[in-house]
C-alpha cells in the first residue's frame, strides 16, 4: 500500500471515524454492562461487524431466543445488504482474496463511501477500496473495544445509557421516513410490531412481526410506490 493510497483513504473515511468511534463506544459500554468484557467486544466487532445488529445482539447473548427466530431476525435486520452487494458484483470479483473481505465488510457506511468516491487516476482503485474498508472496520473495532474497557471504569451513574440503541433506531426510522416516497413499509412495521407485541408478548413477538411484515409487503408491493431514495451507484 502506498502512502498516497493510505492518505487518500484516511481523508475519505474521516466522517466514518467519528461516527464509528461514537457508536462503537456506546456499544462497548452496553456490552460491558450486560456482563461481557472487552475481549467479547473485540471478537464481536471483528467477526460480526454490523451496527444495529450488534446492538440487538447484546440482548440475544444470554440465550432465550430460538435458533430460527434468531436467524430470521438477523437476516431481516441485514436484508438491506442484499441490495448493496448488487452494485459491486463486478468490482469485487476481480479483487481476488481481498474481494472476500470487501463482501464481508460492506456496511452501510463503507457502501456509501465506495459509492461516492471519485478516486484520482494515479491511485489503484482496488487498493483504495480495500484500504477504505479496512480503515472503517479498524475504527469500529477500536470504538467497541475502547467502550467496553471504559465501561468498567466509568465513575458516574450510567443507568439509562441503553437508550442509545432506541435513539439509533429512531434516527434510522426518521431517515428512512424521509427517504421513501411511500410510508406504507414503515407503517406496516409499526402495525405488525405492536399487534404481535400485544398478541404474543414481549419475549416472542419478533418472529411473528417479521413474518407478518414480509407477507403484507409482498401482497402490497405493487401498490407501494418505491422511492428514489435507494441510490444505486454507478
Amino acid at each position: 500500500m502506498t502512502k498516497e493510497t493510505l492518505k487518500y483513504a484516511f481523508l475519505q473515511t474521516l466522517p466514518v471515524l467519528f461516527g464509528y468511534l461514537f457508536m462503537g463506544i456506546a456499544f462497548g459500554i452496553l456490552l460491558e454492562r450486560a456482563g461481557y468484557n472487552f475481549i467479547w467486544a473485540f471478537f464481536i466487532s471483528s467477526i460480526v461487524y454490523a451496527g444495529s445488529m450488534q446492538f440487538v445482539l447484546i440482548g440475544l447473548l444470554g440465550g432465550g431466543m430460538g435458533l430460527f427466530s434468531m436467524i430470521l431476525l438477523t437476516l431481516s435486520v441485514q436484508s438491506r445488504h442484499i441490495f448493496y452487494g448488487l452494485s459491486f458484483i463486478e468490482k469485487f470479483k476481480v479483487m481476488g482474496k481481498a474481494g472476500w473481505y470487501m463482501i464481508f465488510s460492506l456496511t452501510d457506511e463503507t457502501y456509501s463511501l465506495l459509492c461516492g468516491m471519485k478516486i484520482p487516476k494515479e491511485l489503484n482503485e482496488k487498493k483504495v477500496f480495500f484500504t477504505v474498508a479496512a480503515l472503517d472496520q479498524s475504527y469500529w473495532i477500536a470504538g467497541c473495544t475502547l467502550g467496553a474497557i471504559l465501561g468498567g471504569f466509568i465513575g458516574f451513574d450510567t443507568t439509562g445509557i441503553d437508550f442509545a440503541m432506541t435513539a439509533l433506531f429512531v434516527v434510522i426510522f426518521i431517515e428512512q421516513w424521509y427517504g421513501f416516497q411511500s410510508h406504507i413499509p414503515a407503517m406496516v412495521g409499526i402495525a405488525c410490531g405492536l399487534a404481535a407485541l400485544i398478541i404474543f408478548g414481549a419475549n416472542a413477538f419478533i418472529l411473528p412481526a417479521l413474518i407478518a411484515s414480509v407477507c403484507l409487503l409482498l401482497v402490497f408491493k405493487n401498490s407501494i410506490k418505491q422511492g428514489e431514495s435507494q441510490e444505486v451507484c454507478q
Binding site: 461516527g19 461514537f22 467479547w40 471478537f43 464481536i44 467477526i47 460480526v48 461487524y49 445488529m53 440487538v56 445482539l57 440475544l60 447473548l61 435458533l67 434468531m70 436467524i71 438477523t74 437476516l75 435486520v77 441485514q78 436484508s79 438491506r80 445488504h81 441490495f83 470479483k93 463482501i103 464481508f104 439509562g160 437508550f163 442509545a164 432506541t166 435513539a167 433506531f169 429512531v170 434516527v171 434510522i172 426510522f173 426518521i174 428512512q176 421513501f180 413499509p185 414503515a186 407503517m187 406496516v188 412495521g189 409499526i190 405488525c192 410490531g193 407485541l197 414481549a202 413477538f205 419478533i206 412481526a209 417479521l210 411484515s213 414480509v214 409487503l217 408491493k221 418505491q226 435507494q230
Partner: protein, 111 residues
C-alpha cells in the same frame, strides 16, 4: 463447555454467519450476470423501513404503561431524539442528546 461461555459464543457465530450470508447472497446468486428476481429486489427495498419500525417497538417492549413512570421517560426522550433529528439531521447530536436526556430523566426526574 460452560454454557455461560458457549451460549453467547454460539449466538455471536450464528449472527456473524447470517450477517455474512446477507452480504454474500447477491454475489452468490448474481455473480454470473443473471438477472435479479423482482421479488428479491422489492424485499431489499421495502423490508428495511418495516424492520426498523419493529426494532423501535422491540426497544420499547419492556416499558410498562400501567405502573409509574408509565413510559414517560421513553416517550419524552424519543420526542427529543425526533425533534433534534428533524431539526439538524445530525446522527451524533440526535443520539447523544436523546440518550443524555433519557439518563437525566430516569436518574433525576422519574426516580
Amino acid at each position: 463447555m460452560n454454557p455461560e461461555f458457549s451460549t453467547p459464543l454460539l449466538v455471536v457465530l450464528i449472527v456473524a454467519l447470517c450477517t455474512f450470508a446477507t452480504r454474500f447472497l447477491p454475489f452468490a446468486l448474481f455473480g454470473g450476470g443473471k438477472e435479479v428476481p423482482a421479488i428479491v429486489k422489492s424485499l431489499g427495498v421495502l423490508l428495511p423501513p418495516a424492520v426498523i419500525a419493529i426494532l423501535v417497538v422491540y426497544c420499547l417492549k419492556g416499558v410498562n404503561f400501567m405502573i409509574p413512570p408509565n413510559g414517560f421517560p421513553e416517550f419524552i426522550a424519543i420526542g427529543i431524539v425526533a425533534f433534534l433529528h428533524i431539526w439538524k439531521r445530525n446522527n451524533l447530536l440526535s443520539i447523544g442528546g436523546g440518550t443524555v436526556a433519557y439518563m437525566l430523566l430516569v436518574q433525576m426526574v422519574f426516580v
